[in-house]
């Protein structure tokens, strides 16, 4: 139902143009779950936001297409796009503390949402539905008349999720939904999300810097580095044999029982400066296996078998020379 083809997003800045996402392609079936992993600045959020065409200006999609139920939203007029948002695609943001209108009551948020997309709903009905949703979230209906600041972070994230699913969309994009929350709450929120997704049969894109979460919650995983897909596989496959050194690094950096013999380690170096990214393989400067051709040629994304795509000369020799 979601199909992304060689999507490329640019941010023109005074210093020059930043290529935040470089021809990313993937597809997502009904009620599938996809994880987007990568360090901050790897372009996860940009990718996510481009699904609802809300990349903060001056960023814009320069190439590629995004098809939701066959409709390419890249060319869609804003008016149509607006209806699509919330109704077909819901987006859950990182920081629940700041993603609700502080001067609006919780109930009002729901009613407004419902009546925007279904204008001929009566207020009472809207309120009824709100009550139901809040019930699902485990929030007392009478708290509808409270203001956001009267809720805890976890509660607010529940509310955000609730707002997301109210119009039961086909796709929910959760952008670091739990980063701002403490660990116990994290689990609860993710479970809630999981259950609702199953209950409503929605597809889910889970964006996180924390590979472990994604590994346990998603069917397929995209690992992004500097705006490039460096590896794309099912979580099981990826877990079993990570090929790209970056993915390996990421995996190594999670505390893990099975790999207990190996000691925990972080990836040396820091993400590249996106204004003038390294030639060839973006990761080469930090890569422990880097050879000189990694700096000269850019490897291409190749299927190494059972839908496991890798963008590294370690997996294959194909690549394009860079001038």
């Amino acid at each position: 139902m979601l199909e992304v083809n060689s999507l490329t997003v640019d941010y023109p800045t005074r210093g020059g143009t930043i290529r935040a996402v470089e021809n990313v392609s993937f597809s997502l079936g009904k009620s599938e779950t996809l994880g987007l992993a990568g360090e901050s600045g790897s372009g996860k959020s940009t990718l996510g936001l481009s699904m609802i065409r809300l990349i903060p200006p001056p960023g814009r999609i320069v190439k590629g297409e995004i098809r939701i139920d066959g409709v390419n939203i890249v060319e869609l007029p804003e008016s149509k796009m607006r209806i699509l948002r919330g109704q077909k695609v819901a987006y859950i943001f990182q920081d629940p503390m700041t993603s609700l209108n502080p001067v609006k009551k919780i109930g009002a948020h729901f009613v407004e949402l419902i009546r925007t997309h279904e204008p001929n709903t009566k207020k009472e009905d809207a309120l009824e539905r709100t009550k139901k949703v809040l019930g699902l979230l485990g929030i007392l209906p009478e708290r509808m008349n409270d203001y956001p600041h009267q809720f805890s972070g976890g509660m607010r994230q529940r509310i955000m999720i609730g707002l997301g699913i109210t119009l039961n969309p086909n796709l929910v994009i959760a952008d670091e939904p739990t980063t701002a929350l403490d660990v116990i709450v994290q689990a609860k929120i993710l479970d809630l999300l999981e259950n609702l997704r199953r209950a409503y049969g929605m597809a889910l894109i889970l964006i996180s810097h924390d590979l472990s979460i994604i590994l346990e919650r998603c069917d397929r995983i995209i690992v992004l580095y500097a705006g490039n897909m460096v590896e794309y596989a099912s979580s099981a496959e990826l877990h079993k044999n990570p090929i790209h050194p970056y993915t390996q690094g990421l995996l190594r950096s999670i505390p893990n029982i099975e790999l207990s013999d190996q000691r925990l380690s972080a990836i040396p170096g820091s993400p590249p400066n996106m204004l003038n990214p390294p030639k060839g393989c973006r990761f080469s400067p930090r890569c422990r296996h880097a050879e000189e051709k990694c700096g000269l040629m850019e490897p291409s994304l190749i299927d190494v078998g059972n839908n496991h795509f890798v963008k590294c000369f370690a997996a294959n020799d194909e690549g394009v020379a860079v001038e």
Binding site: V103, K105, N145
Partner: protein, 559 residues
């Protein structure tokens, strides 16, 4: 529960609805009235005719003036206040319209008078058949009451006109000789007494409205706002003020005006409209909003209006004079020659022509031209007479290298007309002599007066508006103590006292001439210019007298 912002907006909307509803309601009411009227066409016509008639008999006067304090003769001391009082009140005698000397007096509430040879006892025969409120006939007791009251109030109103004119010093007491005969006994021979009697502060009051305390503006009713007996051509029918400034004044013809038989007042209603400044007033007369604009139309605007066919500009003489004072107690002006030298270097005509565009004329005597005793004394010093200036200053060792330097002060908060431009031109003229260097200094009116009293100003421009029209009220300026020039001259004073002790016009003229001559030699105070007055009216307005009294006599005006 709706969004709070919304509730606020709703409230605002509700308010506006209420307001507009009220509007609609009232406007419909008015419509109803109008239709009711139109049903009786005849009455409507009558109404219209009445309206038109009233237009013909109403004079709308625009002014930038305002009554300063009150319309109580025991206190009022400002031009506009006195002018209003003249319309509604009455004095024993008055100056005949169009007078050029200001001393040809005509009967008003008194029909005849005579002074004893020593000029200390003045008897007046009163006009019979003049009625105050409640058909009380005007008689000698009212005269006595009025003057006794004015004098009695002096201690509690030290800033009032009677105090200023020195009623308590001049008048010893007032006697009722008979119903229609009254006598004033003075403390000393005083020739200009009639002049005093013709002023507003000698207006007859109506005991019913004149308590022994001062009377001030009361919002309650116009009648209670003034103690004056309504024996003048008009009565005060409306007087409203805001924050000590007039908002509206209406005068209606007085049905029992003693002179009504001879057809006065010509116009039944006078309405005063109060404008903020001369430019707005000028726009109003230009646009025909008012029938008449009197005080103050600026010179440049007047010049502009001369060419406007829709208005008529009336010019008249004036009695406001400005003069240059020297601080004679210290150098440089303790030397007479320096004062004379500076006086000779002045150039009056450039000021009257450039600054006042001819609406003022050079003054060579402290006594305004036309008035008894006025001379050209100072003209012997000449204007811009630099050779004389140089020679005089040379004697004292001043020359191009060692210039005579002093501060010339002017008032900069608009108390006097164009004082800044004046000062600039005086400086220019003086410095053109090449041997004088002037530093201009300015202060707001309050500080200016303080400086005067502290005697810190070398030379300063001052102005004088007379209390009563007689050389007696001008000549003393040469040595007036309150000007703090520290100049005194016993000869001049004795001449002055002789002059006020005789009614012999020729003798007085000579005496004042002598005072002027000495003044021109001494130059303690140097006359600069005398104002002229001007009024602007619609072409269909007649009977505007701008004479030396500077009184606007509205009852003579017709249209």
């Amino acid at each position: 529960m709706a969004n709070r912002m919304e509730t606020i907006i709703i409230v605002l909307v509700l308010i506006s609805i209420v307001v507009s509803a009220a509007t609609v309601y009232y406007s419909t009411n008015m419509l109803a009235n109008i239709t009711a009227l139109s049903n009786q066409v005849t009455s409507l016509q009558d109404a219209l005719e009445a309206k038109l008639a009233s237009l013909e008999t109403t004079l709308v006067v625009g002014t930038t003036d305002s009554v300063e304090l009150t319309l109580d003769p025991a206190q009022a001391y400002d031009y506009f206040g006195w002018n209003i009082m003249q319309q509604i009140g009455g004095t024993l005698v008055s100056v005949s319209p169009g007078s050029s000397t200001g001393t040809d007096f005509v009967a008003e509430l008194a029909t005849a008078w005579n002074a004893s040879s020593d000029l200390k006892t003045w008897d007046f025969t009163l006009r019979p058949g003049v009625y105050l409120s409640d058909n009380v006939e005007f008689n000698a007791s009212h005269v006595k009451y009025s003057f006794d009251r004015a004098i009695a109030l002096i201690p509690s109103i030290p800033e009032g006109a009677p105090a200023g004119l020195g009623y308590d010093l001049i008048i010893n007491h007032t006697e009722v000789l008979s119903t229609y005969k009254v006598r004033f006994v003075l403390n000393f021979p005083f020739a200009p007494f009639l002049g005093i009697l013709a002023t507003r502060s000698s207006g007859i009051v109506d005991p019913k409205y004149a308590p022994q305390a001062q009377v001030n503006y009361t919002a309650s009713s116009a009648r209670n706002s003034t103690p004056l007996a309504f024996v003048g051509p008009y009565v005060l029918s409306e007087w409203n003020r805001v924050a000590g400034r007039d908002l509206e004044i209406k005068l209606d013809a007085n049905p029992n005006y003693w002179n009504i038989a001879s057809g006065y007042p010509k116009i039944k209603h006078i309405i005063f409209k109060f404008y903020s400044d001369s430019s707005t007033l000028r726009l109003a007369i230009g646009a025909g909003d008012v029938d008449m604009a009197y005080r103050q139309i600026s010179a440049i605007d007047a010049q502009d209006l001369e060419t406007n066919p829709n208005v008529k500009v009336w010019h008249g003489v004036g009695t406001f004079i400005q003069y240059l004072c020297f601080q004679t107690k210290r150098a440089p002006f303790n030397q007479t020659k320096v004062r004379v030298a500076v006086a000779a270097a002045l150039n009056r005509s450039t000021v009257t022509e450039t600054v006042f565009l001819g609406t003022a004329s050079p003054a060579y005597s402290i006594i305004p031209p036309g008035m008894l005793g006025s001379t050209e004394a100072f003209s012997i010093l000449g204007d811009a007479n630099y050779t004389y200036t140089k020679s005089l200053l040379a004697e004292l060792g001043y020359d191009e290298t060692n210039k005579l330097t002093f501060d010339l002060w002017y008032e900069s908060s608009g108390h006097y007309p164009q004082s800044d431009s004046q000062a600039l031109l005086y400086k220019e003229a003086l410095e053109a002599s090449g041997v004088i260097s002037v530093t201009l200094k300015n202060a707001d009116w309050a500080s200016y007066k303080l400086n005067r009293d502290q005697e810190i100003m070398d030379a300063y421009v001052y102005g004088w508006y007379p209390d009563y029209l007689d050389p007696d009220d001008y000549a003393f300026l040469y040595w007036a103590s309150w000007l703090h020039t520290n100049y005194s001259n016993s000869t001049q004073v004795s001449l002055y006292d002789q002059a006020r002790a005789t009614t012999n016009a020729t003798l007085r003229t000579q005496l004042y001439a002598q005072i002027d001559e000495m003044a021109a030699e001494q130059c303690s105070v140097v006359p600069l210019f005398v104002s002229t007055s001007l009024a602007v009216t619609k072409p269909n307005v007649y009977g505007v007298y701008l004479d030396i009294t500077m009184d606007m006599r509205y009852w003579l005006i017709s249209k």
